[in-house]
């Protein structure tokens, strides 16, 4: 069975909600739809207080090149535009909508019927529909999908790789999506292949989901060019670079785009959203989210509208246990710890993980033994023990030489460190600093070159 070649760890899977059927969450009386739901510039609201909206009405436009549309997930009246905390506690603007009934835009096909034949066959038109449906990377990175579908000149896509790895422990949203919407996903993949004008797609699924592998393999037989690739269990296989390596054995060049390998990676949730957008004309207004944790009464997979309070999700899964020490948006390896449970559902939220007090605190760090376990597990071939030390001591030149900028922040180093050293904390900080220095240097060099060119022309 295939897997990526370098490093990796095996955290306990804890897929408590595996096999739990997807359940829709009740719509509350008031939702707040955050305007920062994609990587890049936040979206700009186009509604004002008092506006009537339906499910699927555009409420915000892209705020830049790397940005996306946002649609209302409910029908009702715009109540206000106000600041709300995101998962990390940072305040972002949000459109509050008072819910009245559940009226959808007429253009949306609400039927459950599976539509196999592509309704749009023009690549450009598919990308355009995806853009106007507000689709972003559903794995959590929230990269605006239309941008990814338009590779820079000179780069050619040869294969679409679908990320159905779900290597984060606990999370099962992609798993349950595959079990319940296998064919929709396959049609969505076909649409992505059409948009990229390629004949080949690979869906990578880790071996701990044999039911999903079996079902997808069986259904995929009817879809030309799509193969299911079972992958050996190893974190961080869902990392874009690791998944490409695992599926087609090519390494994304350091500093380069993944498309340089000829592969375009999309999350399986994104493929499902693409199906809904292309075949049903339904914009991205809801998603599957896992709400889980060992102390939680009912670990579940929910279909949740964007903008409903996270607290409602936890309530629906049995309520926040008394001994809760940590609430994480996302999985335990890369998710973000929430300072308070007061944020709202966003497009990139694949899971909410509740951790009891006993597991919520880190152990005290001990001295580094130079045991090199972090070097062994680093999927990027870095030396976490050294680059974290360089960051800590602000030795930026050395950190750059050790390629700190290649770090994908998967956390394998901190996870494995016998001395419980917060390696990634330091590396993250140093990476930001070093990349800033590199950008400044590049800008300076560019300015200098331009000045010289202007000087030469003046002569």
């Amino acid at each position: 069975m295939k897997t990526f070649r370098m490093g990796g760890v095996h955290p306990a899977a804890n897929k408590l909600s595996a096999g739990v059927a997807i359940r829709p969450i009740d719509i509350p009386a008031l939702v707040a739809i955050p305007m920062a739901q994609n990587l890049g510039a936040p979206s700009k609201p186009v509604v004002v207080k008092g506006d009537k909206v339906k499910v699927g009405t555009v409420i915000a436009e892209p705020g830049g090149f790397l940005s996306s549309y946002i649609h209302s997930s409910v029908s009702g009246t715009v109540d206000k535009i106000d600041m709300v905390p995101d998962a990390t506690g940072k305040k972002v603007p949000a459109v509050f909508i008072k819910v009245e009934g559940d009226e959808w835009e007429d253009t949306i096909d609400r039927s459950e019927d599976l539509v196999r034949e592509l309704k749009i066959t023009d690549p450009k038109a598919i990308t355009d529909r995806i853009f106007h449906s507000g689709i972003v990377g559903m794995g959590g990175a929230t990269f605006p999908t239309q941008v990814k579908l338009a590779p820079p000149p000179g780069m050619k896509c040869e294969v679409v790789i679908i990320n159905a790895v779900e290597c984060e422990p606990y999370l099962t949203s992609d798993h349950s999506l595959m079990l319940e919407h296998a064919e929709e996903i396959l049609v969505g993949v076909t649409a992505l292949m059409c948009a990229m004008q390629v004949r080949k797609a690979i869906i990578g699924i880790e071996a701990n989901k044999p039911d999903a592998i079996a079902l997808m393999t069986q259904k995929a037989a009817a879809y030309k060019g799509i193969t299911i690739q079972p992958l050996k269990l190893k974190y961080p296989q869902g990392g874009e670079k690791q998944l490409i390596d695992a599926c087609i054995g090519k390494q994304v060049p350091s500093g380069g785009l993944p498309i340089a390998t000829g592969a375009l990676v999309q999350n399986v949730g994104t493929a499902f959203a693409v199906y809904q957008a292309v075949q049903k004309n339904k914009p991205l207004i809801d998603r599957i989210v896992t709400v889980t944790g060992k102390s939680l009464a009912h670990p579940s997979n929910f279909l949740a509208r964007i903008g409903i309070p996270i607290a409602n999700l936890i309530e629906a899964a049995g309520g926040l246990p008394e001994d809760t020490g940590k609430v994480i948006s996302g999985g335990p390896m890369m998710g973000k710890a929430m300072p308070e449970v007061n944020s709202y559902m966003v497009k990139g939220c694949s899971g909410i993980l509740i951790m009891p007090n006993a597991e919520a605190r880190r152990k005290q760090a001990e001295p580094c033994l130079r045991c090199a376990k972090c070097v062994d597990v680093c999927p990027m071939g870095l030396s976490p023990l050294f680059i974290s030390k360089y960051s800590q001591k602000q030795m930026w030149a050395e950190a750059e030489e050790e390629r700190i900028y290649d770090c994908i922040e998967c956390g394998s180093c901190s996870f494995t460190c016998p001395s419980h050293r917060p390696l990634l904390d330091w590396i993250r900080q140093g990476k930001g600093k070093v990349m800033g220095i590199m950008r400044a240097r590049a800008a300076e060099a560019k300015a200098k070159a331009e000045a010289e060119k202007a000087k030469a022309e003046a002569k």
Binding site: M333, M334, R362, C371, A372, P379, M380, R403
Partner: protein, 322 residues
């Protein structure tokens, strides 16, 4: 106000710990220790206990009263140093000399550099080499096995490495007295307390490989390099080369001393280079040096090179082609 804990990812941990790593090495050393108790009886018990107790005590005293830092004897690293020091000395070594060795190992080898993780040289070897230089007579009389009731009054005799030296010096009879390769594997010959039974050491090594406490790179490269070098240096005789890697502290050093996390390189390729150089150097010292044994010196010399190896041999990078 919420009382949620906020920290950066990852939010889970493998459960690895310094203590567990050290404990794994100690467990791996248990078979060899049992064999030593069997062969050397009283002497082995006294030497091991003295060494372990004084290493732990010195670490405790230095941390508590001189460095005034947190006392971390609970991580078992001092216990491990104590066992390894005992393994590297003869089982008839007087208690007071062992205590001096422990002081040098912990005090000079480890604490002067800042304690756990900071030292350049393997502390147990620092202690051992100091004793070898300071007490050459006591450190080179080797008890013969199976005199369990004796300690310092034990009968001593030649070790395989001494016989090798005699042989190289021109005494062709020396090889006649050499124990067979099987006896050397089982440890039926004179030598340091813990080094004699290659089989027990290998069993422990396999345990550590299975537990992923160590990787194969250092032990295998040392043994291969030593074997090849011995083959070249001792008249292209496979049997002699085999006896060379079974004799003395080579097996103990390759599996337990050179693999010390703190003092060995961090990348697999660096570890291979480090191991090969140790293997070659150890045999060259045995063959051409004035000491019959060269493993301690070889490891210490390469310990000193580890930072350099780390500087020049980087891990294979993802997405970087030369």
């Amino acid at each position: 106000m919420s009382n949620l804990n906020v920290s950066l990812s990852p939010h889970v941990h493998s459960g690895n710990s310094v203590r567990k790593s050290m404990l794994d090495v100690l467990i791996a050393l248990a078979p060899a220790l049992c064999v030593s108790f069997y062969y050397y009886g009283l002497g082995a018990v006294v030497v091991t206990l003295t060494s372990v107790v004084s290493c732990v005590l010195f670490e405790y005293l230095i941390e508590k009263f001189i460095l005034k830092t947190e006392v971390r004897i609970g991580d078992l690293s001092a216990v491990l140093t104590g066992v390894l020091l005992a393994f590297n000395v003869p089982s008839n070594l007087p208690v007071w000399i062992i205590i001096i060795g422990a002081l040098i190992a912990i005090g000079v080898g480890k604490m002067t550099f800042g304690g756990l993780g900071q030292n350049i040289f393997n502390p147990a070897l620092v202690g051992r080499v100091f004793l070898l230089v300071a007490f050459p007579a006591q450190m080179t009389t080797w008890p013969q096995p199976m005199q369990q009731a004796h300690y310092t009054d034990v009968t001593t005799g030649a070790t395989p490495l001494y016989l090798f030296q005699q042989y190289v010096a021109g005494d062709t009879e020396a090889l006649q007295q050499m124990p067979s390769a099987l006896d050397m594997l089982l440890g039926m010959h004179g030598g340091s307390l813990g080094e004699v039974c290659a089989l027990a050491l290998i069993i422990g090594g396999i345990y550590m490989l299975c537990r992923k406490t160590i990787t194969w790179h250092i032990p295998v490269s040392i043994l291969l390099a030593a074997f090849c070098t011995a083959f070249l240096c001792y008249g292209f005789d496979i049997h002699l080369a085999l006896q060379q890697i079974l004799a003395g502290g080579l097996m103990l050093g390759a599996i337990y001393m050179a693999t010390d996390y703190v003092t060995s390189p961090v990348t697999p390729r660096g570890q291979l280079l480090y191991g090969c150089l140790i293997g070659v150097l150890a045999i060259l010292i045995r063959r051409f040096g004035s000491y019959p044994e060269g493993m301690s010196f070889a490891i210490l010399m390469l310990n000193a090179c580890s930072p350099l190896i780390n500087k020049y041999i980087k891990p294979r990078r993802f997405g970087v082609t030369k």
